[in-house]
Symmetry: C2
Amino acid sequence: MEIIKNYIENNKDRFLDELFDLIRIPSISAKPENQLDMARATEYIKESLLNAGADHAEVISTSGHPVVYGERIVDPAKPTVLVYGHYDVQPADPLELWDSPPFEPEVRDGKIYARGADDDKGQMFMQVKAFELMVKTGTLPCNVKFMIEGEEEIGSPSLKQFCVDHKEKLSADVILISDTTMIAQDIASITVGLRGLSYMEVEVTGPNRDLHSGLYGGAVMNPANALAKMIASLTDENNHITIKGFYDDVQEVNEAERNEMAKAPFNLEEYKESIGVNEVVGEKGFSTRERTGIRPSLDVNGIWSGYTEEGAKTVLPSKAWAKISMRLVPNQKSKKIDRLFEEHFKSIAPEGITVNVKSLHGGEGYVSPIDSVAYKAASLACEESFGKKPIPVRSGGSIPIVSDFEEVLGIKSILLGFGLDSDAIHSPNENYPLFNFYKGIETIPLFFNNFAELKK
Amino acid sequence: MEIIKNYIENNKDRFLDELFDLIRIPSISAKPENQLDMARATEYIKESLLNAGADHAEVISTSGHPVVYGERIVDPAKPTVLVYGHYDVQPADPLELWDSPPFEPEVRDGKIYARGADDDKGQMFMQVKAFELMVKTGTLPCNVKFMIEGEEEIGSPSLKQFCVDHKEKLSADVILISDTTMIAQDIASITVGLRGLSYMEVEVTGPNRDLHSGLYGGAVMNPANALAKMIASLTDENNHITIKGFYDDVQEVNEAERNEMAKAPFNLEEYKESIGVNEVVGEKGFSTRERTGIRPSLDVNGIWSGYTEEGAKTVLPSKAWAKISMRLVPNQKSKKIDRLFEEHFKSIAPEGITVNVKSLHGGEGYVSPIDSVAYKAASLACEESFGKKPIPVRSGGSIPIVSDFEEVLGIKSILLGFGLDSDAIHSPNENYPLFNFYKGIETIPLFFNNFAELKK
């Protein structure tokens, strides 16, 4: 522990400088105009891995954005930890809501402000620096592999095939991922559940061109009004999703487990205050934590139609669009939900309207066992660095690839994340506290040590 | 008639060139960046009026965009026709749907394609050229005044005060307006009714920042979902508007008048085909023509929230917006409807949501008598140029200033328009057939002649 703390203390400014250089590369996977930045980010990470002590590192192409692979094999007989992370980030808009430029990281009040500061550049880079620490201090207790992808924010469309193609190379005893949150800075937690995702885009068409809303208004179905009606009908007065068959495969969580979950610290008033709402709203019969942890949800992520600039344009639009995503719980299958959504959405189109539905991305939920060697190693590591036992939590987020890893590679993942709910990931002013960044670099070598010990 | 036809034949290319020069000025009243273009358009029209034969023309400032005024007083004892039109146009977006640039007019298949080709540069310029024709051929039978404004497309916020300030200068026996449509190229019509307008913008706020839709989805009211529910509830299953008190002042049209209206030629199949819909949809119990002619309506003119670009962003947006307008029938007052809308919309906000409502513009409906001298003069003029009697129709559109003219100036308007429903005004590929442009220039002097005769 002394060794770890000293190494961090002596290198903390350099760690930050290096992270900042990575953050300055706007590697937005969703945007075609950032292709070159994606390539720059892969090179930067490859070099970082080599500098940290990898025997070997390479950028491996896929049918989409490439994966950075690196490894240090100390002894084939020893256990192997495969670190997963991603170098791509979400788009930064709406830009005008950022207090500082999203790709020019800045430390304010002890937090790094930038797109990717947490998700996932900040958290992934902790893994790289923890690896460096173990190599340079001669404390690396087992083999390490890195698989850092560039498509997490768009649903990892190429990574499953990448795993199929490189199964041998990726063989390991556990996958270690830092891409989740803890409950609070003084309450470590380990994520043991993730939700799946079905992300759809719908296009609703009325007349074949934009019409004058005076000459035609009242006589023609307006696709924006129709889309509003269709979206409105997707949830009922109890905030239950009305898509036929949607809940069929939902794994109900029993009373005992719900009671156990309810023991995790949670302050509803602080929660409401942190996001500025007077009231929380969700599925009837479930608590706020349950609504994100064990229940599916449906959200409009984007909607647009007609005239959206300044002033008044009296147009009856030809088309209206929405991006609608559903978070799924374990046992719901995203492909099936895609199909149910499409069938249902088409079935509720009013007269005078045609509908197109496409799936933009999706993935399955995940539940992780808490009696595994990896969980124990992570739990012990947190106890050593935070001074108390971490709490297992089910997160509302999705890392669809985690269930693919299990299916293709046959390896379980351990979700040891150091983010906070207040980090505003995917939002303007994304941030990551320096405390969490350095605490992660401190905790990760402890995990490696415990894992190697327990595996003996 | 011979004189008119000859003058048009000898000057038709020049008429078109001059109109094209006017169209090339992108005088979009709604957009601050087109301020300079607004000024250029006023100068162009002032010069056109002077060249056509006005004794006097000037650009008169208002609290908004200026008005171009011009006059030719042949004899104070003779009647006076006040021509009203507007030089401002609607925004041209979505630009990508235009087959040719909106401000580079082009003739294809006998039609002028450009923003403003019909509404109202094309129609207003017919008035200027008809005036020139009468002056140059020595056939102008009465006094003429012009009032060409620049705020029609944003609801004429300054024109009522302009009328108050210049009441004396604007004194006339009738106001002549070409800013409406005819039924078809071979079926002239005179617009005897217009709808009023209430145009609102709503802002719906949920959490205080964009959230991650995984971490929060299901536990927080999403303002885009909420807005969809709120809009959906504004109309019921009979396409009746649900705003409390909305229909209180609606002037019901009696059975006899409805039967009379039903005699106007109308082909529903052609109508549906022209706008590419399988079914027309509107208020139960009324025909398509009635739905736009004598019934109010409610349309979403624009809606926007969250992520609207390519790809998938898993955001739970902080805010959602919509532009929602209502067309009103005579006797409904737009200010009252603004208030009813705001009260109702705020009352239906779900928990966890705050709502802002503002009025962007509005105006009253209008009904014109068909036994007036002006109507008779216009009817006769159409009969002479089209070879058959025109049909009086109630249009679904709004020219809110028409009821203001009556209130402030005490002058009735005659709506002698030459557009077609297929001209796609306010839409991409707005167009105006050359036939209609020249037919208008031919018919207007006949109106002047009949009006002066009948007034004797």
